[in-house]
Symmetry: C2
Subunit: 253 residues, 2 copies
């Protein structure tokens, strides 16, 4: 049996009071989703949970069991509200230990910045058995514990941690997408969309309406793992829209 | 027994392929979180799920049971990929019916826009027993089915639907917040933060570091339902930072 078409999946837990209050606009979902897509891994579910141990533990145990990979963002800093390491360790049923390499990295990073205090040493704590995801920006590393990847809450640091992981996770065929935009009400061409999707095996078409400059339009996002099928589907939809007098915009509006 | 301090909670389900692919940056989480805060309702959990009926049903049934209110965004339009109404009806164990008032609204809205086609009539479908959340912008109403509120995926339309709900949902005391910003590494003042939080009953302090202009700083977000306690805690933290030679910025950086 070939595994060529195996679909690799991931979930993401955003730890999360700051997002749930509405004060901060999350940036990590889109960033991690895009990065996973390039690795050939599909983000299947995201949960934003409060900074509450039981909520994190429940989400970790549900999502790590049903996905190849689980990412978390937030809660791995030096302050009292950083509880993600402890919660993930609890979910995995292992103790929290100080990782010697993380301690060495932090000692070096803080040598000229006031030294490694007890608070800073908190950032060397990992679930027992975990590996580090090194990060040039802040010194504090991300953590890999089994199939769980603990990332920072600050998007620029998470970007560095993702960079450190690039090419290291096994994935499958990337899900390619092509967007066709059009100044048309999606309700006018609902049948066309359904029929076009049904005519191309393995293709999904999402319809995303918008209102701009007082006009109604929509982007039709076509997805497939097969570049040839994707291009044929996009061409077919574009030609059908043009036939209706609705000139499509290749690449979306 | 007084219910004065009862905490009212909500959850949100974002339906979600477009967010999970990374192509679109979600805007509804922050918008709905902020709106709920003003109503005195706390957003406790968000799930972004794919456009898959079983995934929506599972999330709806878990989250509506453990929160006062459940919101969904996305998947209530006229096209084949709009499956949220059917999924919520399945979760609630009721059939999908055409709502007479929704049909009348759509007939009126589309009277000068090509008429009410079969695709457009899909937007009048609701779980049996549901009420409408009217929306001036697109004609298509949102839906209230028990404690589940179905909103649009397009943020500007969701904003209209929230406007239509303002003041209509029972809530409790709003969770107030005050931000103190400072050019300081959060790790330097971790003990101060913990001790300050412990000194003020019912207060939570979140610490959110950032890097700007080559400097390290953090915003400390203090939350409480009691405005007097909140102000006292903010003053205490600000004075302690000033004593350390780290001048705070009231309102954050």
């Amino acid at each position: 049996m070939t595994e060529t078409n195996r679909i690799w999946t991931a979930a993401l837990i955003v730890v999360g009071d700051e997002i749930l209050s509405g004060r901060t606009q999350d940036k990590n979902i889109a960033q991690i989703a895009t990065w996973l897509g390039v690795q050939g891994i599909r983000l299947r579910e995201v949960r934003v949970v409060p900074d509450v141990t039981a909520a994190i533990v429940e989400a970790v145990n549900t999502l790590r069991a049903r996905n190849d990979y689980l990412f978390t963002t937030g809660g791995i800093g030096p302050t009292h509200d950083d509880i993600t390491v402890d919660a993930v360790a609890e979910a995995l049923g292992v103790p929290v230990v100080v990782h010697p390499r993380a301690r060495a990295i932090l000692e070096s990073h803080y040598a000229t910045r006031g030294g490694l205090t007890e608070a800073r040493l908190r950032m060397a704590r990992v679930p027992e058995g975990a590996d580090l995801i090194e990060n040039r920006l802040s010194g504090a590393p991300g953590i890999r514990a089994g199939n769980v990847f603990l990332m920072a809450g600050v998007p620029s640091i998470t970007a560095q941690m993702l960079d450190g992981l690039t090419g290291k996770l096994e994935g499958g065929l990337p899900l390619l997408s092509h967007t066709v935009g059009c100044w048309v009400a999606e309700s006018e061409i609902a049948d066309l969309l359904r029929e076009t999707e049904a005519s191309f095996a393995g293709v999904q078409i999402g319809s995303y309406p918008f209102f701009r400059e007082g006009r109604t339009g929509a982007n039709f996002v076509i997805r497939s793992t097969d570049a040839t099928v994707l291009a044929a589907c996009a061409r077919s939809l574009g030609e059908a829209l043009a036939t209706l007098g609705r000139e499509p915009f290749d690449g979306g509006i």
